[in-house]
């Protein structure tokens, strides 16, 4: 009897989670299409997307994140160099560390770490802001004033993410390579100039663009997940907290899964 009840509860929960997942996926796609619509046709509807709003978001998402991005990227570059040299020493192939650092930074670490950082930093801020606006009826106020919340809130954030995430990723590429170079030059007695020359020699444009393409996908994921969770807040300040946490966890999960799929596709 108890087993039957547990099974029923489990099935009901599974059903509810599946339905919610499908609803959120549909809602995300609708948001994506609508934000693209406002970007292209907003002017004709006399509701053009305002550049100052995009710049404001770019400041929050990109410029203000530069200090932490610099620290993280430098540390990751050094960490890869430390690990790489220690591992390659076993085979007496320490000089190959430059190739290892260059490829893993540009293809994998920079886009992934920047994606996770922006999801935690800006994605959570977006979800919390939208959730708070939702419970304070500010979203309703926008709609009754005749301002589309998607045009006013989602599109500027989406555009800013699509510009700033690849920019931050490229910046992180350079800083991480520098971090790797500093450690390598100290450990292997290689000059920074020689390290840079070797890096340029082994890196292909494809390696960098692969990371940048990934960051574009992550930008879309972070924006959509943050807004879907923010717009769905109904239960007061506790709801805002839950939506913020959920948005960060979901963004990071989707980023890692998307990264895995992306890497698989690009390496086959």
């Amino acid at each position: 009897m108890i087993e039957k009840k547990v099974l029923r509860t489990f099935t009901e929960k599974l059903g509810q989670v599946t339905i919610r997942g499908i609803e959120e996926l549909g809602y995300s796609l609708a948001l994506l299409v609508e934000s693209a619509y406002w970007l292209v046709f907003g002017f004709h509807r006399r509701q053009a997307v305002k550049l100052p709003s995009i710049f404001e978001q770019m400041m929050h998402i990109g410029i203000q994140a530069l200090p932490i991005v610099t620290i993280l990227a430098f540390a990751i570059g050094m960490m890869l160099a430390i690990q790489g040299i220690a591992t390659l020493k076993t085979f007496g192939a320490e000089s190959q560390v430059v190739l290892g650092i260059a490829l893993s930074v540009t293809r994998e670490f920079s886009p992934l770490i920047i994606g996770i950082l922006v999801a935690g930093r800006s994605g959570s801020a977006l979800a919390a802001r939208i959730g708070t606006m939702q419970i304070a009826q500010e979203i309703d106020a926008l709609r009754v004033i005749g301002i589309s919340p998607v045009r006013y809130l989602v599109t500027p954030a989406m555009v800013a993410m699509l510009i700033m995430l690849p920019s931050l990723t490229f910046f992180a590429d350079l800083v991480a390579l520098l971090g790797g170079g500093v450690y390598s030059s100290l450990e292997l007695g290689m000059s920074l100039q020689a390290y840079a020359d070797r890096t340029i020699e082994v890196l292909k444009v494809d390696d960098i663009t692969q990371g940048l393409y990934k960051s574009l996908v992550f930008a879309v994921i972070i924006t959509l997940v943050s807004f879907v969770n923010g717009f769905s807040v109904t239960a007061g300040s506790e709801g805002v907290g839950k939506a913020t946490t959920r948005s960060v966890v979901m963004s990071i999960t989707y980023i890692i899964i998307a990264d895995m799929v992306f890497t698989f596709v690009l390496t086959h």
């Binding site: 509807r45 006399r46 509701q47 304070a136 009826q137 309703d140 106020a141 009754v144 005749g146």
Partner: protein, 272 residues
Amino acid sequence: MTKQTDTQQHAAIEVEDLVTHYGSTKILDHVDMQVQTGEIMVIMGGSGSGKSTLLRYMLGLHEATSGSIKLLGHDITTISAKEMDELRKNMGVSFQGGALFNSMTVGENVCLPLREHTHLDENTMQIMSRMKLSVVNLGGFEDLMPAQLSGGMIKRAALARAIIMDPKLLFFDEPSAGLDPVAAAELDDLILRIRKALNTTIVVVTHDLDSTFRIADRITVLDKGNILMIGTVDEVRNSDNERIQSLLNREARHVEINADEYLKELTGQKSD
């Protein structure tokens, strides 16, 4: 011209046979009402009567199950999004909590509709927002953030934002909620002054009886999603309807309990 045609021509808001649901629960059940141009219509009822829901549907925030809602002659259940955008320029709304944008100053809040819908230069917008703020006795407060204002001031600032475009229709959701009696009375006077100055059609959703009797031309009484009565203040006061009288006399509702249903509720079983 028949009396009916004459009434329809002057109705700023017409709700016809409106049915709405929240999930599978019916909230509004075949609601019909009209608000004439320049009239102050107060929608009142107890908690859960559907009055706030009716307001949200009039504002076009949800899609009705069936029926029509005409604002200034346009049926908002069928018009295009572009037409709705245009119509919204003639509508002002003051939400229960004010719904001021917390990231903007009071002045920026009031200016927002102008900034989005007009091509006025910055100076003109500033002057207009200061004018509207002084109408609601908030002159000089334009540089403050909403968090620095009291509850009454937030409501008045929200009203300034609602009237910045000189709307033909003005909606209030619980204007006196959370205000002390003096602040509530001041807001009532403000509503009457705006109607007098602009001949605005005003819909107020409230459960505040004092406020209702002070400002209403007519009152719509809602109960459990149905309209109990639409009439003037005197007609409602003198109504012999039991539900209306218990609402006016603040009598507690007597909920009839079905023993079987109550037992099922207690034991967590679902009703048939």
